[in-house]
């Protein structure tokens, strides 16, 4: 689809949606606030695994990366800016033209596709890195989904996977706090029963044929009003790295 050949009314709608995705104070504010913390983890793990220097220009040049559940491109764009060859995939068709429009405005070349991980795996697509961020708690069969993610990786490839822990605190913070009190997320965004404990996730990743190498908590600090990584506190949001040997 070319932006020059579609209905101008559609383009206006996509522009409004892109503006919504990329407004740091708008509907996706919680993702914007979490993004520096997620990016710190992702960039550090990629640099470690592929021996890259983050202070050099285009440190991820030559790496093929898949961003599953790319939405408006909040992770795809930073990865492309760091030099990765990025495919952004989303199961929601309406996100794709929105993400494309914003990437074009940002001067970034990103291959956005309306596809699920399973379709891409079946088509024989392979990547050095798979970003699997805040997706697994929304899929019907997490184990089958992780198997598809593992299949998408080249040998030596890296998967970053983040989700929400399942315990009374994550219920309070993730659902009561984020959805009801702060109204950060629409009510019903999350189903607490689908949350996964770090140990359950580690077991499923291993069963999918990957080797877990790291896990950290992502903790919101109300005093600094920002998120940071924690070695110990994985009680609500957490993120993991695993490799395909």
């Amino acid at each position: 689809m070319s932006l020059n050949t579609i209905d101008p009314a559609e383009v206006a709608k996509f522009e409004a949606m892109a503006a919504e995705w990329w407004d740091p104070a708008g509907k996706f504010k919680p993702l914007h606030m979490l993004n520096p913390c997620r990016l710190d983890y992702i960039t550090t793990q990629i640099a470690l695994e592929f021996d890259r220097d983050l202070t050099a220009p285009l440190p991820f040049k030559g790496l093929r990366l898949l961003d599953i559940g790319c939405g408006g491109g909040l992770l795809s764009e930073p990865m492309a800016r760091l030099g990765a060859d990025v495919v952004g995939a989303d199961a929601a068709a309406r996100n794709i033209p929105v993400a494309r429009l914003h990437a074009e405005q940002s001067g970034l070349a990103i291959d956005y596709r309306h596809a699920a991980a399973e379709n891409l795996a079946r088509d024989g697509e392979r990547f050095d890195i798979v970003l699997n961020m805040e997706v697994i708690e929304h899929v019907p069969d997490p184990q089958a989904y992780l198997k598809a993610c593992a299949e998408l990786l080249n040998p030596g490839g890296l998967m970053i996977c983040s989700t929400l822990n399942r315990n009374p605190k994550s219920f309070m913070m993730g659902i009561i706090g984020a959805e009801w009190v702060m109204r950060w997320l629409p009510k019903g965004t999350h189903d607490w029963r689908k949350f996964i404990t770090p140990d359950e996730l580690t077991a499923m990743i291993t069963a999918a044929g990957l080797r877990p190498v790291d896990r950290k908590g992502m903790v919101f600090n109300p005093a600094r009003w920002s998120w940071s990584l924690s070695d110990r506190d994985l009680s609500v949001n957490y993120v993991t790295a695993s490799v395909k040997d």
Partner: protein, 419 residues
């Protein structure tokens, strides 16, 4: 399906640089160096002709650099060349004084022997500092537009475009205003200011004196305003002499001999006779705070964000704190792959600096209002109060570390580390 990823970037304008800095004073070049060394392409628009100032002789202007500022200069590579030209401040003596009487018996004394951080600070002459910046900017590949100024700026989706007085245009992803209290960058970005004048003017010059200063800086709190005597290399000191505006104008209008005659009773004779060693400058004192430190694709640094009372020489030191914080925020964002000039990134800089700045600005304001007074009861209280603080080593050390910029959530450059 036609994939936009395979097409050239039709809408993207090539930018002249990543970051364009308006103002070639001291904060501008410091920021330019820190950013260029972190991998950004940087340009500086400076109203002055570049070489004239770099080759100038001593003109009387000098700065008191706090330890943290010295660390920043080390981290950006210009301290090794400056160190032999800098005068360490080994002691600071603050006292209440009245013309003709010299310093009162009680005074507040800070001695660098009390902290492990080395000297309290360093006095550096403007000409040396600026020459060092110019040289290193050339090495780092910073582009400099001298004798040039910005007359208009417009923000677009991906950056900012400015029109120069010469008629040319420059574009960048981020515009940083290091253009002083009357910042045109702030005005053009629609950022208002809050502030007030003090009805005071600082008379600034340098004097040669007969006896050595032993690295001691003096601050005499006079009824008209503070008089700072700051040690330079050799038997020479920098003078920052604040007076009521009318009195200052009268003193400035005097010939050199009359000026010295007015200064002598305030200065005292503890360093022997004094003679003028530099030009005579005046700076009207005012406090001015920008209502925001950032706007879309625009950030303010130094006096453009906050012009404080120059008491204790915190102006340049506060500016260099902005430089360190902004360089770190931008470099971190770029290394994460974020759009480093996006609104949420710029807000991180503002959050980091604004609170610190307002506290410092109001603190200096209060100290000055309390001391610029000739009420005998207040005067006695001040003598006792200063004596009391002087007697409490822990409190004094805390005050010294704060003045040296070693307290608080420090950016990496202020700890002497690269960003």
């Amino acid at each position: 399906m036609d994939n936009p990823a395979r097409r050239p970037h039709l809408r993207i304008m090539e930018r002249d640089c990543d970051i364009l800095i308006v103002g070639g004073g001291l904060n501008g070049p410091a920021l330019a160096l820190a950013l260029a060394q972190a991998g950004f392409s940087v340009g500086v628009v400076d109203a002055r002709p570049a070489p004239a100032r770099a080759e100038a002789g001593f003109d009387g202007r000098a700065y008191a650099l706090a330890q943290a500022s010295k660390r920043l200069l080390s981290a950006i590579g210009i301290w090794p060349g400056l160190a032999p030209l800098a005068q360490p401040i080994l002691q600071i003596k603050a006292s209440d004084g009245r013309a003709g009487e010299g310093a009162a018996a009680f005074f507040l004394q800070f001695d660098s022997a009390e902290t492990e951080d080395g000297p309290m600070g360093f006095m550096v002459e403007d000409r040396h500092l600026y020459a060092a910046f110019l040289e290193e900017m050339t090495v780092a590949g910073v582009r400099l537009w001298s004798r040039e100024s910005v007359v208009a700026q417009t923000v677009d989706a991906g950056g900012v475009r400015v029109q120069l007085a010469s008629g040319g245009h420059l574009s960048a992803r981020l515009l940083v205003g290091c253009d002083g209290r009357a910042s045109g960058t702030a005005t053009r970005a629609g950022i208002g200011r809050t502030g007030w004048g003090y009805g005071q003017t600082a008379l600034v010059t340098a004097v040669d004196h007969e006896r050595p200063h032993d690295g001691i800086a003096h601050q005499f709190f006079m009824p008209g305003g503070p008089l700072a005597i700051l040690p330079l290399r050799g038997n020479r000191s920098s003078i920052v002499w604040s007076e009521g505006a009318a009195q200052a104008a009268a003193v400035q209008a005097l010939p050199d001999a009359g000026y010295l005659a007015a200064l002598r009773p305030r200065f005292g004779d503890f360093l022997g006779d004094i003679a003028l060693a530099g030009d005579r400058f005046t700076y009207p004192l005012s406090l001015t705070l920008a209502n925001r430190f950032v706007a879309p694709r625009v950030a303010l640094v130094g006096d453009a964000a906050h012009g404080v009372h120059p008491l204790a020489g915190q102006g340049l030191n506060l500016g260099l704190r902005d430089v360190a914080a902004l360089a770190e925020v931008l470099a971190e964002a770029a290394r994460r792959g974020e759009d480093f000039a996006a609104a949420d990134v710029l807000e991180r800089y503002e959050r980091w600096r604004r609170f610190d700045t307002v506290v410092m600005a109001l603190g200096m304001d209060t100290v000055n209002r309390l001391f610029s007074n000739d009420n005998p009861i207040l005067r006695l209280g001040r003598d006792l109060g200063l004596g009391a603080v002087s007697a409490l080593p822990a409190l004094r050390r805390r005050f010294m570390r704060e003045a040296a910029g070693l307290e608080g959530d420090l950016p990496r450059l202020l700890r002497g580390l690269p960003v």
